[in-house]
Amino acid sequence: MSSPLLEVKNLTISYKIKSKIVDVVKDVNFKLNKGDRLAIVGESGSGKTTLALAILGLLPKNAVVKSGEILFNGINLLKLTSNQWRDIRWRKIAMIFQASMNGLDPVMKIGDQLIELYIYHNKYSSKEDVKEKIVEIIKKVNLSPTVLNLYPHELSGGMKQRIIIASSLLLNPDLLIADEPTTALDVITQSEILSLIKRISEERNITLMFITHDISLASLLCKKVLIMYGGTNMEEGELREVISNPLHPYTKHLISSLLEIENGTLTQSKKDLSTYISFSGCPFNLRCPYSDDICKISYPKPIMVNDNSRIVRCFLYKR
């Protein structure tokens, strides 16, 4: 096996909020091989979006990377200069945001924005070639080329998301991060977008990192899953296995609530955020039915189980 495309090692990121420092991502570890499709599942506030932003170097000003590294093709992304980023962002790593609906400049035509993007990264291409290429890609995402002459506000949310997907294909990236790409879309559009992402990543052999709060959506796209809670990776493994045999109490909770069809989502009031993160023990221990004394004191370490195919972060599994 070759070296992984993306490797996140011991990554801890904290935010400074009103002179308090809060760890949002804590000691996250995972690997992503070329061609893999990994789902990162977790409820809101679990640090998954921060993780994605960190990979693209887009952390907000009040965020601090405390420790760890993000290796992309062996390069530590956390140490890049802004010039070096230019070669990575969108050329190597593209991202579809949760808020991609608002991700387009409202006062510029779609076509112009795509042309601008392409020319920025390929300085010496002729305009005709670029147009041709863009029309081709627009067709690929099932849109009519006439949208190129429209402004973002004239498109529906789904159409805008398709434009973003198209733009991510424009430069043939190695890694595509899709952060909740279907939130705020209706169910039909949702499945269309997901199947589009799936089709494209298969066709072009793009490595995919799919971030969602909905494990059922993850199952449509991905083979592997990483469950996040409280800023860290709780469980990792083949998606099928994880669903059929959840090891971590949180995963069990997630799956059971899914089965009970409680809306498919777990909402947690944001007010709890600080309570569990400032806590030195296991972040899940307050809600964990198996909570023990040790869970309140020390932070669990990831443990390989089931012939190293699964990684779990829980004191229930020792050795």
Binding site: M108, D112, E116, I119, Y120, K127
Partner: protein, 558 residues
């Protein structure tokens, strides 16, 4: 690079294009307008011709400009339908009057080289100079004089009603002799003509249908009208054919200044040659500038307090006298006028030497006299306030225009009167409102004012103190009603010689000073700043602003 195709460049480009368009349009417009300006009239050809005067400087006079300053722009430049004193000041440089005044303020030859007066004082015969011409080449003749006099009678021009009523008929004896018969003897006739009697050319005005807004200014004076930009400037050009001599400069530009400050700044920067500054201007910085000359000339300006003599408390002569004693005029002169002027007593200014009566009541500062008079008037002090037996307090409102020097003077008066327990409230309004109250309705208690007197004192005494003039819009705004003064005014207006008129004018001054409808404060002084020119001869009332000054002024060397 295509990179810059979008974003910044779009906005920036469009904005820059807009700026350029705006600047270009406006700039182009201004320039074209200015180009039109620069070719004043058909007489441009004479612009570079050397004049025929004997001074050696005349050879360079063709491109010398005298820039003068006015604080009040002219309103209506029309020799018969003018409105303001500024108008008159400019018009008198373009149009001659039959009679002028000499440096003592008495009649002197003008367009008429001499005149005779019949024994009863009602027939005047004028003998005109023979070499006067209109600026379009026609000679000035007796026809023009007769035409002008009849023109005043024919139309209702604001300032000529009195003259029109006075003139009975006009006879042309020959081309250069004209005889005027008055309805009654009036010695002031000549002086009135010297003030406002500008003669207009018959050949032009006889065809005019609406003389009220006719703007063609062909005159016979030392200057020709070139252009006028309202609020900015008036440009006049020397008349090379003027019978009294040609000025030693080519153009006279009158710039309009909005404040003393901007005029002083222009003086200091050397772009202004001649201006009259108001009394109370701090002259120290100008005096230290070697190129600026300060010339003070006697002025006919009088500054006074007027009181409404029909209402409490000023319907009592004793109160008016008491106030007159309680005001320290010397302090007012020192502070508000910076000693530029002199303390006043009579209503006629001493610069009208012939008419001024020095022996009038002199209310020199004397608070004990003031207190005595107040007590005599039935007032007594009660907790520091003067109260009379009916319980009325001696406090009143001093209404002033919100301009210099009124606010300063009012502040001083308020302070002086408060020292003897008289309470003054100052109310200041804008000048037009002030005039509509004081002159329009006379609905005030006390106010401050100033007049610039004409050569004929009756032009001022009659409207100001004759009780016939105390109605709405009348100028007897102190509502002064005194039978003696009324009678004296009637006599003065019928006098057949200047000395008889002077007798009555002396009497009027005395009675008015005794009755004090006005408390005379200060006689003004004309302060002129001159730079770049020498050789001036002041004239009373006009100071340096008289056509003779402009004939005499010589550009200084360097």
């Amino acid at each position: 690079m295509r990179k810059n195709r979008l974003g910044l460049s779009n906005i920036a480009k469009s904005l820059i294009v807009i700026i350029i368009i705006i600047i270009a349009i406006i700039g182009g417009y201004i320039f074209i307008k200015n180009q039109n300006h620069t070719s004043p009239s058909s007489s441009t050809t004479s612009l570079f011709s050397t004049s025929n005067t004997t001074y050696s400087v005349s050879s360079i006079s063709s491109n010398i400009t005298l820039t003068a300053g006015f604080f009040e722009d002219v309103t209506s430049l029309n020799p018969v339908n003018w409105f303001t004193i500024s108008d008159l000041d400019v018009l008198q440089l373009i149009y001659n009057t039959l009679v002028e005044v000499n440096s003592t303020g008495l009649p002197a030859p003008g367009l008429a080289q001499r005149w005779t007066i019949s024994d009863n004082g009602s027939i005047y015969t004028f003998y005109l100079v023979h070499n006067a011409t209109w600026q379009d080449g026609y000679p000035v003749t007796a026809q023009d004089v007769a035409f002008t006099f009849e023109y005043w009678k024919k139309y209702h021009f604001p300032y000529y009603a009195a003259l029109a009523a006075l003139i009975k008929n006009v006879t042309v004896i020959n081309n250069y002799t004209v005889e005027v018969q008055l309805t009654h003897p009036y010695a002031g006739f000549l002086l009135e003509l010297a003030d406002i009697g500008m003669i207009i050319p018959k050949h032009i005005w006889q065809n005019v249908t609406n003389p009220y807004n006719y703007t063609n200014l062909i005159g016979d004076g030392p200057f020709e009208f070139v252009s006028r930009t309202p609020g900015v400037d008036i440009v006049l050009k020397a008349n090379p054919n003027y019978f009294g001599g040609k000025p030693h400069f080519e153009y006279l530009v009158i710039k309009i200044f909005n404040s003393v400050d901007s005029a002083l700044a222009a003086l200091q920067s050397g772009t202004l040659n001649l201006i009259e500054l108001p009394e109370g201007t701090n002259l120290q910085p100008l005096l230290s500038n070697p190129s600026i000359h300060i010339v003070t000339t006697p002025s006919t300006m009088i500054y006074y307090i007027s009181m409404n003599t029909q209402t409490f408390p000023f319907n009592n002569t004793l109160i008016r006298q008491a106030i007159a004693y309680a005001i320290n005029k010397t302090q007012i002169l020192q502070l508000a006028f910076l000693d530029q002027g002199s303390v006043a007593n009579s209503v006629i200014s001493p610069s009208l030497q012939y008419w001024y009566n020095p022996d009038v009541m002199n209310y020199s500062y004397n608070t004990s006299e003031a207190i005595k008079l107040l007590e005599e008037a039935g007032f007594h002090l009660e907790k520091g306030v003067w109260v009379n037996s009916q319980g009325q307090q001696l406090s009143f409102t001093l209404l002033i225009p919100n301009e210099a020097p009124w606010i300063e003077i009012a502040t001083i008066i308020k302070q002086q009167l408060s020292q003897i327990g008289i309470i003054v409230n100052i109310q200041s309004v804008d000048p037009t409102t002030w005039e509509s109250i004081v002159i329009g309705t006379h609905n005030y208690q006390m106010t401050l004012g100033a007049w610039r007197l004409y050569f004929d004192p009756m032009l001022f005494l009659e409207p100001s103190f004759d009780s016939n003039e105390s109605g709405p819009n009348g100028l007897d705004f102190s509502m002064f009603n005194n039978a003696t003064v009324n009678l004296l005014i009637q006599k003065a207006l019928q006098s057949s010689s200047l000395s008889i008129e002077r007798y009555y004018v002396y009497q009027i001054q005395y009675v008015v000073s005794q009755q004090v409808p006005w408390i005379m404060l200060v006689y003004g002084q004309d302060i002129w700043a001159v730079q770049g020119f020498t050789n001036w001869q002041p004239v009373p009332r006009y100071g340096l602003w008289y056509y003779t000054t402009f004939i005499n002024l010589i550009p200084s060397k360097g």
